[in-house]
C-alpha cells in the first residue's frame, strides 16, 4: 500500500508536463469508465428483470441532481479517453510526430473542450 501511494505520488510529482498529465488522465479516466461500465451493465440487467425495478434505478441512480453532476464527469472521462486514445494511436503508428507531442496534446484538449462544453451545458440545464 505504501509502495502504491509512493508510486502514485511519483507519477503526479514528476514534472513531465503535457505528456505526463495526458498519461495520468488517461489512466484515471479509463479506470473511472470501467467502474461506471460495471454499474451500467447491472442497471441494464435490472431492465431485463422488469419495469418496476428498472424505473427505481432510473429515478434514483440516473436522474437525481448529484447524478447530473457525475454525468458531466462521465462525459469528460469518455471524451478525453477517446481523443487521448486517438493521440496515442497516431503517435504509436507515426513515431516521427513525437516531436510535436505538446502541440498534439493541446489540439486534443481543445477538441475535448469544444465537444464537452455544449454537452455539459445541455446536461446541467435542468439543475442550474
Amino acid at each position: 500500500m505504501a509502495a502504491l501511494v509512493a508510486s502514485i505520488y511519483r507519477g503526479i510529482s514528476y514534472r513531465g508536463a503535457e505528456g505526463q498529465w495526458a498519461w495520468i488522465l488517461h489512466r484515471a479516466s479509463g479506470l473511472g469508465i470501467v467502474l461506471f461500465l460495471y454499474m451500467h451493465i447491472v442497471s441494464i440487467f435490472i431492465a431485463a428483470i422488469g419495469p418496476g425495478p428498472y424505473e427505481w434505478v432510473h429515478a434514483t441512480l440516473y436522474t437525481s441532481p448529484p447524478a447530473k453532476v457525475l454525468e458531466v464527469f462521465l462525459l469528460f472521462g469518455v471524451l478525453y479517453h477517446a481523443f487521448n486514445g486517438m493521440r496515442i494511436i497516431i503517435i504509436d503508428f507515426f513515431p516521427a510526430l513525437g516531436q510535436y507531442q505538446r502541440t498534439i496534446v493541446r489540439i486534443e484538449l481543445a477538441l475535448v473542450v469544444i465537444v464537452l462544453v455544449p454537452a455539459a451545458i445541455i446536461t446541467l440545464r435542468g439543475i442550474i
Binding site: 479509463g30 447491472v42 441494464i44 424505473e55 494511436i89 513525437g98 454537452a119 446536461t123
Partner: protein, 143 residues
Amino acid sequence: MATSSSRPYQGKISYGAPNHERKIWLFMRLTGLVMFITVVFHLLYMHMVVGVENITFDNIDARWSGPAGVFWRLFDASLLFIGMAHGMNGARFSINDYVHNKILNFLLTAAVFGLGLLLILLGTVAIVLGAGGLGNLFQRLMG
C-alpha cells in the same frame, strides 16, 4: 532514463518476433479505434439526443424491438464485448504498473476479470432476452 538528446526517436522501429503482449497492444489500438466511433456515438446520442431522463423502460423496449431492434441489440452487444475487453485489459495494465506484490497482483487481476466476465454474462442475458425478458421468462417457468 537519462539521454543526452531531447530529440524524440524518428527512425524505423525494428520489430522482433510477435509476442503475446504485442498482440494485446495491437488489440487495444484496434478496439480503441472502433470505440472512438461507436462509444462516442452511443454517449452523445443517449445523453444529447435521447436524454438520460428519457431512457425509461419503455424506451429501452422500443429501441430493442422490431427489425431495427436487431441492429441495436448487435450494436449494444459490440459495446458490451469490446468495451469490457478493452476496459478489463486497461485495468490489468494499471494493476501491473502499481501492484508488485505477486499475490495481491493476482487477486486484483482475478477480481477485475472475474467480476467483468460475470457482468458480460449478465449484459448478454439482458440483450438476448430484451427489456423485461428475464422477468417474463421466470413468470412462464413458475406457471
